[in-house]
Symmetry: C2
Subunit: 230 residues, 2 copies
DNA sequence: GATGCATGTGACGCAGTCGTCACGAAGAAA
DNA sequence: TTTCTTCGTGACGACTGCGTCACATGCATC
């Protein structure tokens, strides 16, 4: 699902980390030397970097500073690994803008969870759900919407409307709520504009349009069948 | 800057935390009992919650589950506090979707930094800078832009253009870079479209338009005078 | 200061988007 | 089934936003 660069000088640790990340469906790259990092990031464009503080060649903090000083790599989230709970390192890392840090020894499972959490927050891409019909993806940054990795171009109003619906999947959104959120209407206005836009949305969504469900007398909802509860 | 709810049964700790957060410019609310949390969140709508695991009334994990099960409170980021490095708690917390956790004893400064980090990632609102002329605020969620808390309405293209510029303040963006980022042009195209949109942007920004600076022969930058370096 | 090039600016036409309305279809209530 | 309400749909006019162009302005180099 995501491409992750693991930077650690101990091959055992890199391998352990990679193994767990790949098990989660991520693609992994490894670097053992600090000097390899910049060129690899520029070439491979990973979605996230797991960076050890102690490295031969160039230490982790220096690598991190270089990453953050270059506009091409500034936005790549970084998780730092520290050998021991060295508070100054933690604070330095966080102060410089690391997205998280982890103290060795750590459970690989925890690392995987933290990576998922960070990707969820930083990608700006909201992964809505995966159902039989495929995945819905919303990319606020580029104001685009994907269904089954296929981009669907929506107008500004359509995107806003879908964003509100999809932000709270399965929740029923009343007409007045939608008119407020999307159009900024403060008091109830009798208008068919919403209906028309729902129609246009359904059209552009094609098959996926069936997820936009009318709740008669109330409003609309973006309905995804819930996974079988355990 | 942000409203933060601190939930801890020990007043000493709450006070210490609040003190540091307020020093960072945040607004603080306190709760000592787990049962107070939901109503307070609904009423006060904090931007973030600092939640102790050990609580009278209803323990932190239960409170957290309730927060996440209600659509009205689902998106509020939560930092969990654990008394000791109880790995199962950590994993439970992260698995359930906590945005971070902190193990007691922790440095209040670290908490403040983590809060800043999380708000930076989750708020979707990018706080660009505060200069004499006031603050610039970009709200991706509503695709709006504020200057001195005054909304400025921009068209989609204008917003995208400004977003790219403002995402890397003071960095020079080449023409081809902007044409690629905003218009999706892959190869260099000779067009005056960019110039026109820059002009329109400057017009709508009014006084703030002076921050959009031409870098002759190269491109444009969004220039904010750097604070006096230490 | 003169020349050449890059950028600013105003105007214009096309294309796309929006909201409204009228009418038809589909539920709900009786 | 009949009646009433709510929602779906297609068409239409108005408007907005966009990209292009022509011309004006401004900077740099000599």
């Amino acid at each position: 699902m995501s491409k992750i660069l693991v930077v650690d000088d101990e091959p055992d640790i890199s391998e352990l980390i990679s193994l767990h990340l790949m098990r989660e469906g991520h693609e992994c790259l490894c670097a053992t030397n600090g000097l390899q990092v910049m060129p690899m990031v520029l070439e491979q464009q990973p979605d996230l970097i797991v960076l050890d503080i102690m490295l031969p060649g160039q230490d982790g903090m220096a690598v991190f500073k270089r990453l953050r000083s270059d506009s091409r790599t500034r936005s790549v989230p970084v998780i730092m690994l520290t050998a021991k709970a060295q508070v100054t390192d933690k604070i330095n890392g966080l102060e410089l803008g690391a997205d998280d840090y982890l103290t060795k020894p750590f459970s690989p499972r925890e690392l995987a969870l933290r990576i998922t959490a960070i990707l969820r927050r930083t990608k700006i891409v909201t992964h809505v759900s995966e159902v039989k019909t495929g995945a819905f993806l919303m990319d606020r940054k580029n104001m685009k919407f994907f269904h089954n990795d296929k981009p669907i171009d929506l107008t500004t109003t359509e995107f806003k409307l879908l964003a509100v619906l999809i932000e709270n999947t399965n929740a029923v959104h009343t007409r007045s709520e939608l008119l407020r959120e999307v159009w900024g209407y403060s008091d109830d206005v009798a208008t068919r504009t919403l209906d028309t836009h729902i129609k246009r949305l359904r059209e552009k969504l094609g098959d996926a349009g069936k997820h936009v469900v009318t709740v008669r007398g109330t409003g609309y909802q973006f309905l995804i069948e819930a996974p079988v509860a355990g």
